[in-house]
Amino acid sequence: MSAATVFGLCAAALVGLGLFGVLVDPHPLRKIVAFNLLGGGVFLIFGITARRGAAAGFASDPVPQALVITGIVVAFAATALAAALVLRLVDETGRVTLRSAGSGGGPSNDAHS
């Protein structure tokens, strides 16, 4: 099994774990952590893509590396914004949950929120 395949499987596992966490975990903070896991998996795929350049005689393709740095910055900003919203939510209500906006129910819940 080549290094690229191992890394590819790792990336797939990270994406799967992260996706599961974002969708299933009810706690916003854990959703944010799961989102970062998911993002990490995608960034790893960027790293694997960078090895494409190696076939052409380069040590690696620099473009995906440049992209992944930007991606990390964006994910960092997203995490900061989400954490700030969660903090503010705790300040206002003293609890951390997404339930109040009708996340568990259908449209009729929304109408009363």
Partner: protein, 509 residues
């Protein structure tokens, strides 16, 4: 054959305008953050006319040359460099944003004006974010590199999410957080698709990619991932759950920006992907599947709008329905070449729907905001008498609603008529039924509001706060633009096709 049609990878005359369209609002944002406080409003008000002038100049440039404007950043040519490109499609959306953002800004002065004595953080934040949304929208509409578009759409999310929770109440904070989570999940999928495309084809430039992309599993998976992610961002059924609480909970000017403009950006990227990047990859089944989601959105969103007890939620659910109309473009023109008259009319009709919905929905949210300010609530059951107290506001609401239900001569009428023509002409009559039933349901929920507001109140209506005439007239002016769009469909449809034949030729090869 197609190689001659590829736009040369160089900056065209007037290409620098595209960069200014992004840089100017960003400069405004940075200055607002730096100077802070009460300066934010003044900076925004100063930036707006210049932004509008740049948009007009870009439109004129594309219109007169009949070709795309392009700027190659740092003279690094794609595939290594990043380009900005304005075709007919971009121009239509850039112009819409350039007209709506200043209108919403003037409207917001009544609500977020910052007198020197009382500085409010919400006001400063609103003005800064309004400019940030504008910059991000222009970056999305003008971007020609898929990764650059990822950054632009994330920038848009970061600017749009705090707009939802400007008042800092717990339920709007929850709505903002859910919006952010939906949006982030969507952009991760978009990013995953982007890296797959880069890995397979070695470029992210839209035109270069269009010439290299083949019908293979990589392109399929990438297209599905990216489309799915963008659907979550544009709130197409069944990924619409975040939209109603977010759009209804935001202050009225913010709702107008979010519902009128922000949800159009991911939709715009879906069009780019399906028709510019991979015209040959998307097949009939996938397009029909997207059409089914769109049709469900139209019917489901309209029925839910009818059942709402609060005016702003009604308008928000109607956005869910109207987004559905936009995505009907995909099944109606995915199989047509661009020269085909039916595909053409679906294309023009869909874009006209995007633009006229932007104006109509902004006007309706402005009107709903004024009603809520005047009454202190926005329960539809308690609207009796408001039609007499705020006639201009309710007239604006009615005109916006007219465009939503597709009554002549509004822009919405021409848009829906074109979608109908395309559906019948393509032999896909089932979409025509959806367009017609959706129009009837829209008529229902608009009439519901108007009938309540024109009813005689049980006790004389006392307004909690006086509503300035200038703000009412602004809402009316925006609604009038939505109606007047119905008178100008033919010339702009040529504009929409500028820069399109190249991509079509590449897809057909």
């Amino acid at each position: 054959m197609p190689s001659a049609a590829i736009v040369p990878a160089m900056t065209t005359a007037g290409g620098y305008l595209l960069v200014f369209a992004v840089i100017l609002p960003v400069a405004g944002v940075l200055l607002s953050v730096l100077l802070g406080g009460r300066y934010a409003e003044r900076i925004a008000i100063v930036v707006m006319p210049f932004g509008l002038a740049i948009a007009v100049a870009i439109t004129a440039g594309v219109w007169h040359s009949g070709n795309v404007l392009q700027y190659v950043v740092g003279a690094w040519e794609p595939p290594l460099g990043v380009a900005f490109r304005a075709d007919g499609l971009s121009v239509a959306m850039v112009m819409t944003a350039a007209l709506l953002v200043p209108a919403i800004g003037w409207f917001a002065r009544g609500q977020f004006a910052t007198p020197p004595a009382t500085q409010s953080r919400a006001a400063t934040t609103f003005w800064t974010l309004l400019l940030a949304v504008w910059a991000a929208l222009n970056a999305v509409f003008l971007g020609a590199d898929l990764f650059n578009l990822y950054v632009a759409i994330e920038f848009l999310t970061f600017a749009a999410v705090p707009l939802v929770s400007l008042d800092g109440r717990p339920d709007t904070l929850t709505a903002a957080l859910r919006y952010l989570l939906f949006s982030l999940l969507g952009s991760v999928f978009y990013l995953l698709g982007t890296v797959l495309l880069y890995g397979a084809y070695g470029t992210l430039d839209i035109l270069l990619l269009a010439s290299r992309v083949r019908m293979d599993p990589t392109a399929w998976i990438a297209l599905s991932l990216m489309t799915g992610g963008l659907l979550a961002k544009s709130a197409l059924y069944p990924l619409h759950l975040w939209l109603p609480p977010a759009h209804a909970g935001a202050p009225a000017p913010a709702s107008a920006v979010l519902s009128g403009l922000v949800v159009k950006a991911p939709f715009f990227l879906v069009l780019r992907l399906w028709f510019d990047v991979m015209p040959g990859v998307s097949d009939r089944t996938a397009a029909q599947l997207l059409g089914v989601l769109a049709a469900t959105a139209v019917l489901f969103g309209s029925v839910l709008a009818l059942r709402q007890a609060r005016l702003k939620l009604l308008v928000a659910y109607s956005t869910v329905a109207q987004i559905g109309y936009l995505f009907l473009i995909v099944p109606l023109s995915a199989n047509s070449q661009i020269g085909h008259p039916w595909g053409n009319s679906a294309w023009t009709g869909g874009m006209l729907q995007a633009v006229s919905h932007a104006f109509a929905k902004a006007a309706m949210f402005m009107a709903a905001g004024l009603v809520a300010e005047a009454l202190g609530h926005d329960r539809i059951a308690g609207l009796a008498g408001i039609g007499r107290a705020l006639p201009i506001t309710m007239f604006a609401f009615a005109l916006g609603g007219m465009s939503l239900m597709g009554l002549p001569p509004s822009g919405g009428f021409v848009a829906k008529a074109m979608l109908l023509t395309a559906a019948v002409g393509e032999g896909q009559w089932w979409w025509a039924v959806v367009v017609l039933v959706g129009g009837l349901l829209a008529g229902g929920y608009v009439f519901l509001v108007l009938a309540r507001s024109l009813a005689a109140p049980e006790e004389p209506l006392t307004l909690r706060a006086p509503v300035p005439r200038s703000r009412q007239l602004l809402a009316l002016a925006v609604a009038l633009i939505a109606v007047l769009l119905g008178f100008a469909p033919l010339r702009p449809s040529q504009l929409l096709l500028i820069g399109r034949p190249e991509a079509a030729a590449l897809g057909v090869q």
